[in-house]
Amino acid sequence: MTAATRIRRRRAVDGRLGGTASALLLAPFLVLMLVAFVYPLVDLLLISVLEPAPTLENYRRVFAEPVYGRVFLRTVWISLLTAVCALILAFPVAYLMSRSRGLFAGMLAACVLLPFWSSVLVRTAAWSVMLGREGMVNTTLKGLGLIEAPLQLLYTQGAVIIGMTHVLMPFMVLPLYGTLRAIPDDYARAAALLGASRFRVFAEVIVPIAMPGIISGFLIVFLTALGFFITPTLLGSPQEQMIVTLISQQVREVLDWPFAAAVVSLLTALVLAIAFLFNRFLAFDKVLGGGR
């Protein structure tokens, strides 16, 4: 028996697909990813340093001109606030979901999942109507006698935080739910039997066990918010630019492609660096299932 047939026999026994067949089946995927994902990103990096002539001037500009530094800091700050808001809103929802059964649990899940799978633009449009000068929020506040004149709510950082929290909250609920569901009821019961107050049960039992979910949800929301395009563009303030609005302005209006490419590369590098740093916490699988 030749070595080749021996190997073939062994494969037939363990049932795994051979190396050549595997490679062939993977080929379309690899070609697609290289052409439509890897190459465009590498191309950006090349454009940012090579056009019109080899230079690091574009990067120098981002770091040297204070206005761009402020754009980056503002974006990081707003993304952090969004992640904090999403965590505060999502935790009780995920907790109740994890302790519920039957129809009620299904209803809770539907409330969280419907936004997850519905159009970002639809939701942003709704916020833009609700936060407008004559929008529901202003008329309600006026009706309650809390304000005299309508507030400027739309086109502010507050609107961006509200809109992004709304869009990204399901990304927080799903990983939290995953870890909270795994905590048996007995833990809280045992702690309470030993005399712990509700708050101590929460702070010293539930939160520490749920920490991987908390960190994972927080990071997913924060990283997504950093590069989130729609909400800052449609609800944000034109005076207080964020990274994404700076990029679209450079690409579409200023037409300074090399500079835009440099800003995009820096944003991508920032996101990837954080993702690698906290790699072990990023449970993307919880989100990828769409909460099934």
């Binding site: 993977l26 994902f37 950006l44 454009i47 409330c111 939701r123 950093l226 395009f229």
Partner: protein
């Protein structure tokens, strides 16, 4: 007094528990509010957006369907979404099969590539594709959109199908092969029918991801070829017109239909599984 009386989980819900419930309901209102607001607005008889709406009319739906530009945008998005769904299902099933049953060299790099589109900001992909496709005249092309949307949808698809494929005993396929089936035939006749629900779920995910995709559409769309999300974006940017709530309502119905479809497929899959284990 029994021990159960001491256990807090059995205790009657107190103020803290009710407080948490009230907070959760408030959050759910916050989550659903935009949808609850925009749906009734689509039926308002007034020419401007108002809430609460006055009267009832289907005029804005009629105007949306009658408008040539909205229709063109919708058809373009539909074409892209259908093609994306097919590409994702074919390429994705091949990838998933190799991941679960085959040999992947450099698994770390492979996982990175697969998850990349989830981590890398969509705007980076969008600008990268724009600067790459624009000079070669493919910026607004259907092929460009389909390729980009397939990249975005693949992680969702592969994850969904891998979860189901890894539950299927490889011995089933081997048995078919030892009876003389080739591997492709064994896959198509034995394994594929067992994972069909998850393949279809993943396909639905891919469809909605593509149909609702706004960021890549914003950068890649040309003057003529605008997808539905691209036109909606413009409409919102320039202060919404009354057709927009009607479109938003239709899109929300589509999302509900997709979610319901996925739920039914899950149900089907679990029936499948119980049937398979019973045999």
């Amino acid at each position: 007094m029994s021990a159960a009386a001491h256990t807090p989980a059995r205790r009657r819900p107190d103020a803290a528990a009710w407080g948490m419930r009230a907070f959760v309901y408030a959050v759910l209102v916050f989550l659903l509010l935009p949808t609850l607001i925009i749906v009734p607005m689509s039926f308002s008889v007034k020419d401007y957006l108002e809430f609460p709406p006055t009267g009832f009319t289907l005029r804005w739906y009629a105007e949306y369907f009658a408008d040539r530009r909205w229709r063109a945008a919708t058809l373009l998005s539909l074409e892209i979404a259908v093609l994306t769904t097919f590409c994702t299902m074919i390429v994705g099933t091949m990838v998933t099969y190799v991941m679960v049953r085959g040999r992947v060299l450099f698994r770390g790099a492979f996982n990175l590539l697969l998850m990349g589109p989830i981590i890398v900001p969509h705007i980076a992909m969008a600008v990268g594709l724009y600067l790459f496709l624009k000079p070669i005249g493919l910026a607004g092309s259907v092929a460009g959109f389909v390729a980009a949307h397939t990249v975005l949808a693949l992680p969702f698809f592969v994850f969904t199908v891998a979860a189901s494929l890894s539950q299927i005993d490889p011995a089933l396929e081997q048995a078919a092969m030892s009876c003389g089936c080739s591997r492709p035939r064994a896959f198509v006749n034995v394994t594929l029918p067992l994972i069909v629900p998850s393949v279809l779920s993943g396909g639905l995910f891919a469809f909605i991801i593509s149909f609702d995709e706004p960021t890549i559409a914003f950068f890649l769309s040309g003057i003529r070829d605008r997808t539905l999300p691209r036109r909606m974006f413009e409409n919102i940017e320039h202060g919404l017109t009354p057709e927009l709530p009607a479109i938003a309502t239709l899109l929300t119905l589509l999302s509900i239909a997709i979610l319901a479809g996925v739920a039914l497929l899950n149900l089907w899959a679990s029936r499948h599984k119980t049937a398979a284990t019973r045999e």
